[in-house]
Symmetry: C2
Subunit: 290 residues, 2 copies
């Protein structure tokens, strides 16, 4: 049973996830690029690492929760990196959303050092991270998955072993495709209804009662209709994920025209200065007049 956990990356998601591990009884040592989040957690009884190397040496499992693949690779590799200091037989779990191919490469490098690695991206947002109700999509060996389960249960509610290394990231990418394209569909439905002078509440009610029903429609439809785009999940982060989707699809010579269209619209929003709005702000660029 894993007891000592290192946690790297105390952002909007990472901080509550580390806190939930601590509350579940794990001995959690944290490390973060900037100091404020570390001090906050130190005040709650979590331990602060002197260095990445020290955290790696003292942990049975290390979790990374970082913005993107290059950030994960930066802490994994190199003389001061995790692989150079974690013990053989220990467990590395990357919960960031990164490209499946990068996840596979990192897992292979870890395996070569006798360290098991899981990719375990999440969905559920900061609310899910705080409440400990994240959906966690896991790729990697079954043995490592089972060893990591007590940690996952401290942070999430729905834990799914999706397949070998990279599979968690692939399923996360699938999720981001469906969410982005569904947002676009709801946005265009609302755009037509609004142009024709129909009360958006009627459109949402009717559509919600049939095959057009979706969680996007239910959760975001009312705010989209009012053009309220408080995040939630930011446009620029979804666009980062669209880049992962594009690269992954390209590796399989797969053409995903709706995802590509969604990505062009997210890019347009970013260029217009809307990158920090909720991703449902797709409603600002689809259904345009002219």
């Amino acid at each position: 049973m894993i007891k000592r956990v290192g946690f790297i990356g105390l952002g909007v998601m990472g901080k509550p996830m580390a806190r939930n591990l601590h509350r579940a009884g794990f001995t959690v040592t944290v490390w973060n690029r900037s100091r404020a989040a570390m001090d906050e957690l130190a005040g709650e009884g979590l331990r602060l690492a002197e260095s990445l190397a020290a955290l790696a040496r003292n942990s049975e499992a290390v979790i990374t929760m970082l913005p993107d693949g290059p950030d994960v690779a930066a802490v994994v590799h190199g003389p001061d990196g995790l692989l150079n200091h974690m013990a053989a037989g220990s467990l590395l779990i990357d919960m960031s959303t990164i490209a499946p191919e990068t996840a596979r490469q990192l897992a292979a490098a870890a395996h070569a050092r006798g360290i098991a690695m899981l990719d375990a991206p999440v969905s559920g947002g900061d609310k899910g991270a705080i409440a400990g109700t994240l959906s966690i999509m896991v790729g990697g060996d079954t043995e490592a998955f089972e060893r990591a389960l007590p940690l996952f249960h401290a942070m999430g509610k729905t834990i799914t072993h999706c397949g070998p290394s990279g599979a968690g990231q692939v399923v996360k990418a699938c999720n981001q495709i469906a969410v982005a394209v569904t947002i676009a569909g709801v946005a265009e439905a609302l755009a037509l209804g609004t142009a024709a002078g129909i009360d958006p509440a009627i459109v949402l009610r009717v559509l919600g009662g049939g095959l057009a029903q979706s969680r996007v429609l239910e959760l975001r439809g009312p705010t989209m209709a009012r053009h309220e785009f408080t995040p939630g999940f930011r446009v620029r982060l979804h666009q980062k994920d669209m880049g992962i989707i594009h690269a992954t699809a390209a590796a399989y010579q797969l053409h995903l025209p709706f995802s590509e269209l969604a990505s062009r619209h997210f890019q347009q929003l970013i260029e217009q200065g809307y990158g920090d709005l909720d991703h449902s702000a797709l409603a600002l660029t689809v259904g345009q007049h002219g």
Copy 2:
């Protein structure tokens, strides 16, 4: 209270709808271009009209359930048409899915003859028509809507007054946008997962537990993953609706890029001979390799 109802158009949807009106106690007279469906309903106690004009003269309300706008216009106008023979003060209800603009024009022509007209397209498919659980989206005057309610309740479960003439058709168009685009999103998510070797059941389970959840994912995801496309709602009918959507959006100078992309894919399916597959066959053209 309306008692004598004329019903025109006994197709896959119209036949069970007329039957449900009869079972609810209305005196239903039917008229259809081809004979077989009329004879079937005559055997169940529904009355057969000698002509469209005779049906119009003998009904307090006339319902049309026809393939498209020109079919409706053909029975409404002309010397033998409904408007020339229905009594002033009677009610005309078009439950076909046609362009909102056509619905408005027909309602104006009816109004000029002292006949109230509602547009009342449905969703829920042949299963909903048989079970009497259709969702009915109604445009037109409140007075006419309230007079028609007992008829609607005999055929549907969710009855929504969406606004003035044409509003029912607009909301139906909004519904068809959201359904088509959501199908595309689910199709691309499954395509990426499948290309990467992930069990589609895992993709569907994970996506169904979060923001990517949709009724399309739940009802059609499993069959899409198996490339089973038994209708259901046929590609060529959804493409007919995309034509209505395109024309309606154009009237408001509205550009709906995701709907247009879906329409191009439906068209491609029709050209490949797949027009009679279920609309979830979008999975055959999105996520293509090459």
